[in-house]
Symmetry: C2
Subunit: 304 residues, 2 copies
């Protein structure tokens, strides 16, 4: 499959046996993105055999330790392994101040550059774009400024209707224009509508990452219909309501409610409090509301 | 047992499956000390059920990431768990500059203080002392300033010869003076030699930690006869000699040679390069020279 979410860590601040802090590797066709980087992310990558030769961008949702303290170890190891490609870190502006000194100190021999690309955690904006993918921030509701991320694949090329192309004698050099949606004009000046020469493209995919947050519907439109929604579920509904409120986290039921309202295709849960040891309880609680709910564990892989 | 070395990580810079970066918890009777703190140390503590309620001092041998990048996560988690006792970090002076900003940022809500107690890595000196234990630095030979540590228990109290104490009518209040080696003077003014009222104390114990270093005999006298010697063995003797030399590490054979010359009681090896997967090879190589050689793995515990 070409679309894959690798869970490196499914825990929250306090690591417990088998559960590291939050980190994920998202694969969108030939691209890789890391989302958050809790302590031990590089260890999990090694343990799970996740290769990251195509990883050039890391997105940090907020500056709580369990979402970013694995960065310096990871960057330092990449340097030691001879990495040469620049690594770009997208985060709130304070991160560079927090780890810049370490980057300079621990990566003195490294052959690659680390570039910080700060974004404001207070507004939604496109923070990454290439030919195939855009990434937009989704400001959340947490104890510190926090953003989720919406990864959207751009429209894929239309499929060629080869027999029709041959019938109209479309030159091969024009195929990419057809795939981009252009009409074809014959040597006689006749305009052949694109829809006669191509089929609809494979639908492009969308992934939303809702990091630490109290329940919020403010991004309902943005995430509507996404192929995969990751939503933090630090707690079960049985938790002390005051805890849920003051710590600004979500329950499995709340994540499932949002998934249902947004009509997403699949919900993945994680960032569990150490007080909840049995992740099956998260699935039970969520599936009562939204059937396609899955509780991540360290090392699990979700294709979408 | 009262003397115990818990291996949290037996690896070196590149973590591999089952092998975290260097970190150890040393227990000397009721005291605990952490020595080095590679990434994931807090994860291993949790996985191995190592309780650290009596841990108040952390010793960092040198400022390579695999020996200190687990600190901030550990300190931050301690804060979250409600720790109140001050934590003292003994290291080269640069460490505070490297992680001080993070300590301030990530521990804003913590109820305890972190105090940096810098030492010069260029000379041997006592960097810690309490009623029962002293810790002395052992400057090593590595690519950056690095120190080993010698943990020495002070002389334990002498054992009372109870029947003799009764025979000479020694008051109970004087027992601690006897245990400290004082003579007893009777009400008639007669001096009773301490040796008639007590037995020799249980021998006090010594542990030496030889962190990253090229082979060196400069601390042979200091570590002579220690109950337990930990010595890094990044490589086997089969490694490219240039690598051993330029990276300033030791082989299993070299560690065993030092252990033999110093007539230590037991040698524990660790800090293996990721290129060496089978730790049994370290034991084979070392035991050919020094029989009491043991290869640490993550989670192993050595009593001494």
């Amino acid at each position: 499959m070409d679309y894959r979410l690798n869970i490196l860590g499914s825990g929250s601040a306090k690591p417990i046996a088998g559960r590291f802090q939050t980190s994920q590797i998202l694969e969108i066709r030939e691209r890789q993105f890391m989302i958050d980087c809790g302590e031990g992310a590089q260890i999990r990558m090694s343990q799970n055999g996740v290769r990251t030769s195509r990883l050039n961008h890391i997105f940090i949702s907020h500056l709580h330790g369990d979402h970013c303290l694995g960065l310096i170890g990871l960057l330092s190891t990449f340097g030691m392994l001879g990495r040469v490609n620049e690594m770009v870190i997208h985060s709130a502006p304070e991160l560079e101040k927090l780890i810049g000194e370490q980057v300079r100190f621990f990566m003195q021999g490294a052959q690659y550059e680390v570039r910080f690309e700060p974004f404001s955690p207070y507004r939604s904006e496109v923070v990454y774009e290439d030919k195939a993918v855009t990434v937009k921030t989704l400001p959340l509701v947490h104890t510190v400024p926090t953003c989720g991320f919406l990864f959207e694949e751009k429209q894929l090329p239309r499929h060629l209707n080869k027999p029709m192309c041959d019938a109209w004698e479309v030159p091969v050099a024009f195929y990419q224009h057809l795939q981009a949606g252009e009409d074809f004009i014959t040597s006689d000046g006749e305009v052949i509508d694109n829809s006669r020469l191509t089929f609809e493209p494979t639908p492009s995919k969308r992934f939303a990452y809702m990091s630490d947050t109290a329940y919020t519907e403010k991004h309902l439109d943005a995430i509507a219909g996404v192929d995969l929604l990751y939503h933090e579920t630090t707690y079960l509904s049985s938790v002390d309501p005051l805890k849920l409120k003051t710590r600004m986290h979500s329950s499995a039921a709340q994540a499932a409610t949002l998934a249902k309202k947004a009509q997403v295709k699949k919900l993945v849960m994680g960032h569990y409090s150490s007080q909840h040891r049995d992740v099956a309880e998260f699935e039970r609680e969520a599936r009562a509301i939204f059937a396609e709910s899955y509780a991540a564990t360290d090392g699990s892989v979700f294709e979408y």
